[in-house]
Amino acid sequence: MNFVLIFLITIFSLSLFFYGRSKTKSIAIEKNIKLNALPKFYGYYLILWCSIPSLVFLLIWSLFEPVIIKSIIIETAANQGAIFNDKNEANLIYEKIKAIHLGTYFGDIDSILRESALAYAKFINLFTNSKVVLIFAIVIVSVIYSLKKINKNNKARDDVEIILKGLLFVSSLIAILTTLGIIFSLLFESIKFFSVINIFDYLFGTNWSPQRAFVRDASSITAAEFEELKDAFGFIPLIAGTTFIAFIAMLVAVPIGLFSGIYMAEYASLKIRRISKPIIEILAGIPTVVYGFFAALTVGPFFRQIGENFGLTVSSESALAAGLIMGIMIIPYVSSLSDDVINSVPQSLRDGSYAIGATKSETIKKVVIPAALPGIIGSILLAVSRAIGETMIVVMAAGLAANLTINPLESTTTITTQIVMILVGDQEFDSPKTQSAFALGLTLFIATLILNYIAQRAVKKYREKYD
């Protein structure tokens, strides 16, 4: 139905374009007047008036229709005598009614369900009919309005441009809507989670084992279950594992990235730079699932083999393997940003240093790097935020069990790994286990936001200093 409506509106708008264009041309010739805009703008004007109000209406209607019908149907079912204790049962009955209407329900149909299904069919019909009627009304009203305007020889170009400018503004608002969507969807589930689990138990608990918490319904929890739940969601092992793996990654990425950035900015000839810079940036373009595969199937077993040769027990999902590969993935982030930052240090600082007899490396160590330090730290912080938000490498190469350890040869888990583990496959909605994934997501979101904010501030301050 919606597709038919959209198609009709499109066809109608397009034909209005040609109508408006030729109409204004003929008016201009007939009455021998000067038009206020090119004829095609009158056509655009009609298109916009015909399509935008009706399409916006259709969109809003389609978003709200299912919700409204659902609440009406559940209410009628309740009036018919259907009994449901909570939301889930109500949803179940609604799905049954829908299935009966579509003819895909094969269970027993009692009188309540049959009556409700009839009511459902009635409402669907009513809503569809009123939708079509309203849309036609909107199209007719707005087209009549715009045709009147055209006949008065309005300033069609200005009007069209104002509408289009509004469209541009709305497009740029989508970024804000996305942010709001992220915040609300994370907050919504997190609040539910924290209404069951004390936020301090979450933040300072040292035990993470959500698989213990298979409570179906969070609203009817017994005291014994609650005790069990209380210490199943301790965040400390996750943040410890996350920072630990990120730390190993930075041990790899910072020296290699920084040194290659310095070399490219200060030493490399144009030719070497032109070849090696894109190759290093390949590292940032490789999908992380590829790194994960490499870490899990090649690097992990390789370390295990080496460990065995030295008589060490190395877990095949060691923090070391995941951290090392993650570090390699991050090298280009550190190197290209610090390359940029070092390049923007003014030449006069270097010249001054050379003039008093310093070698190139002394100049870099004593003059260039201190001058570029805020920018370099900013780039490292951005890399850290990449590392803690990275998912696939740790999901595939780091462990699943949360254990507090600082032995890089053992397996640890991370925030992102746990989110994936909890949400992969079928989820039980409204269970604290599922909600805990959103709480973890919220924590991750806030942490990366803070890191990014500080990093961007640092880089910006630094840029301003030398501009």
Binding site: F294, T391, M396, Q456
Partner: protein
């Protein structure tokens, strides 16, 4: 320490420092080489499959088919008996155990292959034909040399008897390597020898198409607004900060967003390219807006002023002059953004694309997989045959990314104007 010694020390320090820089670049390059070599050496064998030449006799009595049977009758007919008969003729087996071991050498789809050959040529009833039946995963790996045959028998998946048959087959040259069309044509499967990336390719294609259709227009319009029309005020600043932050939000957070808004609230169908495309579009949007704005900014003000001077409106100056000049940069930024979206895995896992889907999706609202998710799924499988399949999928993924990135570079270098 004399002056000369001190100078020598300083110069040595200089050399060392330079060496560290060179060594780290070298290390990064070396890693790229190791990674690519590792993937290619593991994956290239997946493009071939092992097949065993079998003489099939389409026995009229066993098939219970008359000559000239209709398509439906053939599809209904039971080909199991003639499959077993034909496979057992490959090597003399003495008892039931040996017969089972012999049949295990072939793919579980042998019956379907024999049926397909019959569907292609319906005159085969009562005739004999030589068919190349796909070998089982274990034989496939053995024939490609990926399977160690010197292990003791109880630690091998292939028994001594099966090895014996294999050696005879190799000697008779009835075992061959063909192009693996299943790898490109088939959907996922539990059996590595018939598993393919067909479904994942289609799923990825739909997801990226939807992502392009949603993200590109919105990103271009938003960057035009921010760069050309937006007044300098608090709202504009807020939008800008927002976009920069969104570009740095971990991708898994977008997966949570999609789960809550698209699946739980709007109730779009799970595991579908439609949801994947919308999620990827939201994620890619800020990553496209940033290069789009940069390329709009690079167009010198003189272009705008020239247009305004001959009487164009602000809109005409932007859409007739600035946007076409910024288009190459915009397009290459979009392609790079899409390349990132193509390799993105974590949000797709959360929206349920990890489901085991055998069928190849025909529309964007059918459940499907995607290339990176297929890599993840297969890398978790224990069968040896999936290692080469995973590596080959990565090879496909990487080659798409390389093509897209080259296209982006080409567009920029060929069409972009330099203004100084």
């Amino acid at each position: 320490m004399t002056k000369e010694q001190r100078l020598k020390k300083r110069h040595n320090a200089e050399k060392r420092f330079r060496f560290y820089g060179l060594a780290s670049i070298f290390f990064a390059l070396l890693f790229v080489l190791i990674l690519v070599h590792n993937i290619f050496s593991k994956g290239s064998s997946a493009f071939m499959k092992t097949a065993i030449n079998v003489e099939v006799f389409y026995d009229k009595d066993l098939l219970e088919l008359e000559p000239g049977a209709s398509e439906e009758e053939i599809l209904e007919a039971d080909f199991f008996d003639i499959t077993i008969e034909s496979l057992l003729k490959v090597y003399p087996a003495k008892n039931m155990d040996e017969e089972d071991a012999l049949i295990e050498l072939f793919t579980t789809d042998a019956e379907i292959e024999i049926k397909k050959a019959f569907l292609n040529n319906k005159n085969l009833i009562g005739k004999k034909i030589n068919l190349e039946i796909t070998a089982s995963d274990d034989i496939d790996q053995l024939h490609k040399g990926n399977y160690p045959r010197d292990l003791p028998e109880d630690r091998r998946r292939i028994s001594n008897f099966q090895l014996e048959i294999y050696d005879v087959l190799v000697e008779n040259k009835t075992i061959t390597k063909n192009f693996n069309n299943y790898f490109f044509k088939n959907g996922d499967s539990r059996d590595p020898e018939i598993a393919g990336i067909g479904g994942a390719l289609v799923g990825s294609f739909y997801s990226i198409l939807i992502c392009l259709l949603l993200a590109f227009p919105v990103a271009v319009l938003a960057s035009i607004y921010l760069e050309e029309f937006a007044p300098k005020n608090k709202i504009t600043d807020f939008i800008e900060i927002n976009i920069n932050n969104l570009a740095a939000v971990p991708s898994i957070v977008y997966g949570l967003l999609a789960l809550q808004i698209l699946l739980a609230t709007i109730q779009l169908p799970r595991s579908t390219p439609l949801v994947a495309g919308i999620t990827l579009a939201l994620m890619t949007l800020p990553r496209i807006i940033i290069p789009c704005r940069a390329s709009l900014k690079a167009v010198p003000p003189s272009i705008r002023e020239g247009a305004l001077a001959v009487g164009a409106s602000k809109f005409q100056s932007v859409f007739h002059h600035v946007v076409p000049l910024a288009l190459p940069g915009t397009l290459s930024g979009t392609i790079i953004g899409l390349a990132q979206a193509l390799g993105e895995t974590a949000p797709l896992i959360l929206i349920g694309m990890v489901a085991f889907v055998v069928d190849i999706p025909s529309t964007p609202i059918d459940p499907s997989s995607s290339l990176p998710v297929q890599v993840y799924l297969w890398s978790e499988s224990a069968e040896r045959g999936f290692v080469e399949k995973t590596s080959a999928t990565i090879m496909m993924l990487l080659s798409f990314l390389i093509v897209m990135n080259f296209l982006a570079v080409y567009l920029r270098q060929k069409f972009e104007k330099r203004w100084n």
